[in-house]
C-alpha cells in the first residue's frame, strides 16, 4: 500500500506550488485559481489523515471546505467582474488604489 506520508508530502508540494502561483501570477483570475489550488492541497492532507486515523471527521471537513470554496468562487468572481468593469484591466498591478 501507499504510505501516508507520500500523500502528505504531495499535499505540501501542491500547497507550495499554489503559493508560488499566488506570488507570481499577474492575472487576477489566475491568482484566484492559485487559491483554489491551495484549498485542494489542504483537502488532500485532510483525507490522508482521515484514512490514517480511521476517522471520518476529516472527510466531513473536506466537504465543508468544498462548500466554502464554492461560495468563495461565486462571490470572488462577481468581485472580479466588477473590478474589470471599473478598471478595464485584470492585472493585479493596476489595482493599487489602497497603495500609499
Amino acid at each position: 500500500m501507499v504510505p501516508t506520508h507520500y500523500f502528505v508530502i504531495l499535499s505540501a508540494v501542491l500547497f507550495g506550488l499554489g503559493v508560488i502561483a499566488f506570488i507570481f501570477k499577474r492575472n487576477i483570475i489566475a491568482v484566484f485559481m492559485a487559491i483554489e489550488l491551495m484549498l485542494n492541497a489542504v483537502n488532500l492532507a485532510f483525507v490522508a489523515f482521515s484514512q490514517l486515523w480511521h476517522r471520518l471527521d476529516g472527510q466531513v471537513f473536506v466537504l465543508f471546505v468544498i462548500v466554502v470554496a464554492a461560495a468563495e468562487a461565486a462571490v470572488g468572481l462577481g468581485i472580479i467582474i466588477l473590478i474589470f468593469h471599473n478598471r478595464q484591466s485584470l492585472n493585479v498591478e493596476r489595482i493599487d488604489q489602497l497603495k500609499l
Partner: protein
C-alpha cells in the same frame, strides 16, 4: 513496486505537472484547464485512498461547477494573455526560495507526524458513504445547516455585486 504505488506516482505526477503548468501558462484559459487536470488527478487519489464520496464531490463540484464558473468568467471578460510587469524586487528575489522553504518545512513537519502515528494506510478500510452521511447529519448537523446559510448569503452577495449600476 505494487500496483497502488504505481497509480499513486502517476496521479501525483499529473497533479504536480498540472500545477506547474498553471504557473507557466500565460493565458488564463490554459491555466484553468491545467487546474482541471490537477482536480481530476486529486479525485483519483481520493479513490485510491478509498474516499469514494469525496472523489465524486471533487469531480462534480470542483471539476464541474467551480471550474465552469471560472471558464465562464474568463470568456465573459475576454481575458487575454497575461502581461508581464516588473514585479517587486522582494517578490523576485525572495519569492521562490521562501516558497520552497515553506514547502520543505511543511512536508517535513507533517510527514514526521504521519510517520509517528501509524503505518501505511489501508485503502477502503473505513469510509463507506453511509457512515459518512451518518456523521454529517448527526454529529455535524449544525455546521451543515450553517453552510446552507453561507451559500444563501453568497448567492445574495453575488446577485448584489452583479447588479447593473443605476
Amino acid at each position: 513496486m505494487n500496483v497502488p504505488l504505481i497509480i499513486f506516482f502517476v496521479l501525483a505526477a499529473m497533479c504536480v505537472l498540472g500545477a506547474v503548468s498553471l504557473i507557466l501558462q500565460r493565458h488564463p484559459i490554459h491555466s484553468a484547464l491545467s487546474l482541471i487536470v490537477v482536480m481530476v488527478a486529486l479525485a483519483g487519489l481520493y479513490l485510491l485512498m478509498g474516499a469514494e464520496f469525496v472523489a465524486a464531490v471533487q469531480i462534480i463540484v470542483y471539476g464541474g461547477a467551480i471550474m465552469v464558473l471560472f471558464v465562464f468568467v474568463i470568456m465573459l471578460l475576454n481575458a487575454g494573455v497575461e502581461e508581464r510587469t516588473n514585479m517587486s524586487k522582494l517578490a523576485g528575489f525572495a519569492g521562490i526560495p521562501l516558497a520552497v522553504a515553506l514547502t520543505g518545512f511543511l512536508a517535513a513537519a507533517v510527514a514526521r507526524s504521519a510517520d509517528a502515528s501509524q503505518g501505511p494506510l489501508v485503502a477502503g478500510a473505513v469510509a463507506p458513504t453511509k457512515t459518512l452521511s451518518m456523521l454529517l447529519f448527526q454529529d455535524f448537523v449544525y455546521p451543515f445547516e450553517l453552510t446552507s446559510f453561507l451559500i444563501l448569503i453568497a448567492i445574495l452577495g453575488a446577485i448584489v455585486l452583479a447588479q447593473p449600476e443605476k
